[in-house]
Structures are given as C-alpha cells and as structure tokens.
Symmetry: C2
Amino acid sequence: MFEIFNNKKILITGGAGFIGSNLAHCLVKHGAKVTIVDSMIPDYGGNLQNLVEIRDKITINFSDVRDRYSMEYLIGGQDYLFNLAGQVSHIDSMIDPFADLEINAKSQLSILEACRLFNPAIRIVFASTRQIYGRPQYLPVNESHPLDPPDVNGINKLAGERYHTLYSKVYGLHCAVLRLTNVYGPRQLVRHNRQGFIGWFVRQVVRGEKIRIFGTGNQRRDLVYVDDVVEALLLAGMSDDANGKIYNLGGSEPISLKELVELMIKINASGEFELVPFPEERKKIDIGDFYSSFDKIKNELGWSPTISLKEGLNRTFEYYQKVGQYYWE
Amino acid sequence: MFEIFNNKKILITGGAGFIGSNLAHCLVKHGAKVTIVDSMIPDYGGNLQNLVEIRDKITINFSDVRDRYSMEYLIGGQDYLFNLAGQVSHIDSMIDPFADLEINAKSQLSILEACRLFNPAIRIVFASTRQIYGRPQYLPVNESHPLDPPDVNGINKLAGERYHTLYSKVYGLHCAVLRLTNVYGPRQLVRHNRQGFIGWFVRQVVRGEKIRIFGTGNQRRDLVYVDDVVEALLLAGMSDDANGKIYNLGGSEPISLKELVELMIKINASGEFELVPFPEERKKIDIGDFYSSFDKIKNELGWSPTISLKEGLNRTFEYYQKVGQYYWE
C-alpha cells in the first residue's frame, strides 16, 4: 500500500522525536529518501537513540523550525513534508507562552509560506492535538465538537492547524491535519512528565517507581499505538481526499487511568501506584474524561487502529526494558 | 451610568484609530484620565485629526503593541485597558501574515503577560471580530456558531481572543471580549478600502466617486454605529458579569449592500454605484450574508444598539462633509 513512497523525498520536522522517528523507520523500510529536521531542544523529545537503526539511511539536519531560511532551503525539492515538530508540553506553554507561540504558530506560518512560494506541489501532513477540544461536551469527541483550548499550547496548535487548512483552501497546497490523542509506543520521551502521562507511567513501571495518579483514577482516555499513527500519517499524505481535511486519530478502547496502570503493571509483572489529589495548576487545565471518534478517517481514508492496547503495551515494555537506559537521562 | 470612569486611569491601544478615538472622547467626557497608545502605522487607522478636540486632555504615547517593554511600563498603574490595536485588513494579512501574527496574536500574549505580572487588577476589554465565524452556517450568528476564520487575520484574532479568555480563566484577570461586526461612524479610516467596505463607500459618496459593489449587491450585513460600540466597551469593562465572556456586538437592522448604498446616496443627496463581478482574491475569502445576534450582551449586560442606521449615517456624512479632507489623504 505504501509503495508510493519508494524513492520519494520526505522531510520530517521533529524527526528525531517519538512519532517522527517511528515514521522515519517506516519510510526507510518503504524505500523513501528521508531528511530529518530536529532542533534537539533538551526536554522536547529528540533523541538520536531513536534513529540508531537507520542512521546510515537517512539525512539528519539539526535545525529549528523557527529558523525560517534554513527551512525554506530544506523544503525545496521535497515530495512530502510530515510536519511534526512542536512544543508539546501544556505546562511549559504556560511558563513560556512565547516559545510555544513561535514554534507552534509562527513557524507553521513560515513553513507554509515557504511551501507556497518555493514548493507548491509538496504534500503536507500536520500533527495537531486533541487538546484543542478542551473539556468534552459529549463523548466520543468528533471533529464537529466545539473547540475550547485549555492552555496556551492549545490556542497556538489551533492557529497552526488553521493555517494549514487555510493554505489548502486559498492556495491549493495539499495539507492534511491529524488531531492525535494519547500516542504511546517505543521511542517516546519518558525523561519527564510534561509531555503527557503515558511515557511517564511506562518509565515508572519499568524502573520500579511508584506511579502517582491524580484524582480518582477513573478518568478515561483513548490511546493509540505509534505504528497506527504512522500509518495514518502516510495515508493522509498520499490520499487526495485528505486535502484540507482535519481528522481525529483516536484509539478504539477507552480505558481509565487506573485500569491502564493496572494493565501496565501486569504486563511488566511488577509495579505499584497510588491515587493522589490533583496539584492546583494541573487541576485548572485538566479536561476530565476524553476519548475521540475516528469514524471520519475510517470512512474517508480507511484507517482504523490495528494494534490492541495489550499488544502495543507489550511491545512498548519490551523496548524500554531493553534500551530504556538511553531514555531515562 | 458611566460615572465609574471618573478619575480612572485608562489605557487605550489603537487610541488614535476609529473606535479608540471615539472611546477616548467619551471617556474624557466622563472625567477619565486617558492614555492613548498608537503606532501610527500608515494605512492602519491612526489619525491625529481623530483627537484634535481632546488633545489637551489626554496623553498620547506613540508606540507599538509589539514593543513589549514599553507596553509593560505603560500598563503599570492603569485601571482599565481597552485593547483595540490591531492589524484589521484581511487582504493585508494574506500579503504579510507575519506582521498580522505579531500584532494580533503575539502582542496580545505579551500584553496579557504584562497585566498578569505587573497589574493583575487591571480590567481588560479586547476588540475581536465577527470575521472569525467565517461563512455563516445559520443566521443570525450567535456566539455558539462554529468558528472558521477565512483568512490569516481571522486565525490570529481568534488566538488573540482565546488568550484573553484563558488568562481570565487561569489567572483571574478581568478580560471581556467583544466580537465587532461592521462598525461605522465619524473618525473611521476612509483612505483605502482594505479595512472594510463602509468607510470606503462613505468616502466615495461624499467625493462623488462611483461605488463598485462586488457581486449582486444582495449580500446582507449588520452595521453598528460607533457610539453604540463605545457604550458596549465601557459596559464590558465595568461589569463583573463580563469577565471571561465573549459577546457579539451586532447591529439591529441587517441590510443589503445595495440598499445601504442607496440609503447613503439618499442621505448625501447625490452619488452613484454599479455592480461588478467579484475580484478573484476577494471571492476566495468572501463570506456571503452575515449578521449576528446580540441577544447575549443584551441579556447579560443590558446593551442594545440605540442609534438607527439612518441617524448614524446622517451623523457620519455630516462629519466627513465637514472635515473629510483630513481623511482622504
């Protein structure tokens, strides 16, 4: 199905990060010529361990998406742009809202301007986030759900995705947007807990640390395994139907945080957790239960998640049990 | 009703512009101590003619909202901030999307950060735009209508207003947002047609130039007279109920562009118009019929428009017939 990417030139921003590196692995397997852009900002998720197996088969360019002219140059001649670089910590966006704005909004505009001016035939896929929906008014959340970003990060990501759909509509660029829910799997940042709870939980279980779940533990979330996300990214890039569209990328099995942690502990054959009250600054931006509908991408592009939570977690724990030391510090 | 503003310190960004200067006139009348910030960027709307009658009673500070440290300093000690500065041309936002982003999004964030850090008791009113709704899915458009900004300006204004409601919610700042529809009246920019059609039509009628209406002329819009907008701004600043809220500020009488122009010509006792096809770049971002519901601000703050279209246009034409020469060039 993905033969179309054979010999194609692909640019992946944030390519040394979690999703970008898994995508790069898949594209290399399909014979693509992959260039990775990553700024390696400490704490953001770029990790060269993510690319060791394919390092000789790709080009790695260390640069920041805020670096407008380098980006213009790198975009030239590419067939596809998987636009995954972002500041993804909701907490950090409240501490330094300007960095978040520069990366998640302004850089997206300059990337799109570069595509429009120098490579209008490029096919772009942008990774957005379910965070922009805010606290759900109904479940599962579909793409028509009102948008109410609960933090600076959500506001800027929303602007970033709007630029993409606008440039598709007004300038005819191929742009597709995926709103990712909680993605998990090998190569995820697990060094700190500011990019979501899953990686942090995995780390703690593997290292024998006690997990602290905020609140009752009954908050339900949908998780999607990274290989399924990679497949959706490729479909969104290759399908003309995806142009100008926004798709939720949800998982099929909503699960409570408590059940999730219990499953992790079972798979790891050890581990412990406790329930603790919400810290004040987290409570303010917590969104309660959240899971999303992926009916739209299923109907239009034929995507569904194929890896069960149990299988995905098995693969994840196997990975970190083996090479976790490259991720702890 | 507006005695509360007597002796209060008021900062108005964009205060030499259309709405800001009319607000300044009203506040001076109520005994407020007004400081105006305006960058006087050519073509943006700042015009010292707007302030001649009150020049001795206000402080004018020439600076740009992008000038972060000056803004921080100016915000200190103020009781109210009427945050009206903006890049308001939809066409210009497509030509220079970065300037639009810096002014309409990034500067709003730095203004809010300055308020949060140095003057958290300040009461802020932000002027947003009905443009962020995009093409209406139903009429009249209320505040629950989906948001689909049709241009870079709309995307950035949306981010700007979201920052305001977020800072209200998370940090407890008093922030109210008004989504303005087509505002008209004395002191409006009429030098070019990139800030909306009304000022441009007024200018052409007064100067005896033939008006060109794009399309059929049947597109309906709601107009609101600037004195009514000023009243809403003051209510939103003084009412605790307005904190964190977003209100449409619509006019009471939707009217087609053709009927509007006919009314203008009647009031001016001369003038002519023709219907011409939409230019391509305007067609792409045109939103068809648009008028909004102001039920929410009516119910919550008691605001309704009080100046009829006929009366408002009478006053407008009287103004430009008298001092129009200071606005043509």
